[in-house]
């Protein structure tokens, strides 16, 4: 996956099936909304302290969990939009076919890594369902791990799409967009 390479179309963008487009937009809208609420919660913390002279402990914890959830949901978007940071001065010198081959290997390794990460998150859901957040006792820690698992699955989906796209390009069944 040659992320950040302007000579390639964003992989997911190019090859995402149409039926996946509205759930993708819904997830991105939710994540963006989470960031907005996180900001309001942080500002509310300052306002409660100085305007109303009240110490409100839940604002910080709320902002933190919203941040964690937004980031986990957005890591997949970063893959889809080829935004991840890479050092590409060697990769740029490779031919398009070689770049596809290297990307397939990277994607396979990343999928293996995501499998291990996702399995860990799955195990932690059941282990933490009983424990709740300190200032927001109606939120189970297990829900956060469920969100982590969802984020990992989303990443795996986009990496999988990238792998298939690059494999097809390598095999000549799909036109390479790289120059």
């Amino acid at each position: 996956m040659s992320l950040n390479d302007p000579r390639r179309l964003p992989s997911g963008e190019a090859s995402l099936p149409g039926w996946l487009s509205w759930p993708r937009q819904a997830i991105e809208t939710v994540a963006t909304a989470l960031i907005v609420v996180m900001m309001l919660s942080t500002l509310a913390q300052v306002a409660f302290r100085y305007v109303f002279e009240l110490s409100v402990p839940w604002t910080e914890e709320l902002a933190r969990i919203l941040f964690v959830m937004a980031m986990l949901l957005t890591m997949g978007t970063a893959i889809r939009e080829n935004e991840n940071i890479i050092v590409d001065f060697l990769l740029r010198r490779a031919s398009p076919r070689w770049r596809c081959a290297i990307s397939v290997l990277f994607d396979a390794a990343i999928l293996a890594f995501l499998f291990i990460w996702g399995r860990g998150a799955l195990a932690l859901i059941s282990l933490n369902l009983g424990s709740t957040l300190v200032t927001l006792p109606f939120v189970s820690v297990g829900y956060l791990y469920a969100c982590e698992l969802f984020g990992v699955l989303l990443m795996a989906l986009y990496v999988g799409i990238d792998l298939v796209t690059n494999a097809l390009r390598f095999g000549g069944r799909l036109e390479s967009t790289a120059s």
């Binding site: 941040f67 978007t77 990460w117 996702g118």
Partner: protein, 431 residues
Amino acid sequence: MILYLGLVGLLIVLIVIGMPVGFAAGLTSVLGAGLFFGDVFDPRVGTMIARLAMDKMDNFLLLAIPFFLLAGRLMNSGGITEKLFGFVALVVRPLRGGLGHANVLASVLFAGMSGSATADAVGLGQIEMKAMMSQGYDRGFSAGVTAASSLIGPILPPSIALVAFAVQAEISVAAMFFAAIVPGLLMAVSYMAYVAYRARADGMVAGPVAGLAELWPAFRAAILPILTPAIIMAGIYFGIFTPTEAAAVAAAYATFLGVFVYREFGLRHLWREVRGTMVDSAVIMLIIVFTSAFGVVMIRGQVPMALAEFLTGLTTNPTILLFLLMGFWLVVGCFMAQTPAILILTPILMPIVEQYGIDPVHFGIIMTLTLTLGLLTPPVGMVLYALVRVTGLSFDRLAVLCIPYLVITTLVIALLILFPTLVVYLPGLLQ
């Protein structure tokens, strides 16, 4: 030990051949965890990675990153850069090479809002180049000063790189912000001294002093954005808000200026910027999470201790050690962007810092500053790439034009290593 050192080598190879930095760190962390659990597919490896990821992200300090990123994006898109440059250009017009000085000063002010060198080079750089070209300045001179002045962005607070270091080193973000003020200003003063020297050598002429009738409207247009760094730093200094809250206030202030004061953008644009900020933050977060996991694995494998043992064999003097590390960071900076390099190296190097009795704030500033130079050096100098389009010059020519500024900045870093008080005095006032 050899196996853990092999993991360091593997991480370097994976990054150099183009694997996304965050995933390269994640993959090597999993392999490292597999080493001490005996099997990569042991269920404990997965739970360790999942727990580390959650624990690292569940940190209120990290929220400062998206907030500062958003503030920078909104300031850049709110037409604020033009107002800023217009004002400082009038102030320094009576100096020889006035627009060269204005270029540096505008970057100082912009740094207090954006904290990113690339944002400075692309946003402010475009305006600066246009103004300097129209006034007959040499293209090479203009490009050199535009590239160099953008380095001030990631140094002067608020700076994403400083937040990243503070999070990884588990030290105060406020201390890092205050420690960066003198180094950032020293950089600016030394660049302006070089501009003055070049202006005299090239026979540039000074412009007329701006009258009040000219200055007042420019000042009125620029004063509200100029206040941003003052609000952030005063708020933190007087204990009104924490660095994270200050970042949220900065983002809210930038929104207020863009939507209500200057009316440069509406809610649709704001939403787009929030979305872009989120993606940028997620990219940084992936690296933070897994470089931290890699740091944990390295500590388990006693790698920092071995590195410390090797370095103490070379020198026991902390100043010489900092000079040695400076050389190492200069090489690293040529191949890797500043923030990922900070995120990867900090967990490995912090035990050594403690062993040598170096102030972590001093260490962090030297490391951040040295890695910043990589933005102007081939083959991955991000500012150079950004400026190719802005200046119309080739990448190679730009790299050559930056050499005097790289030498100047290296001298500034050497000065900061020799006189740590320049760095640690201001954060000392916080206590």
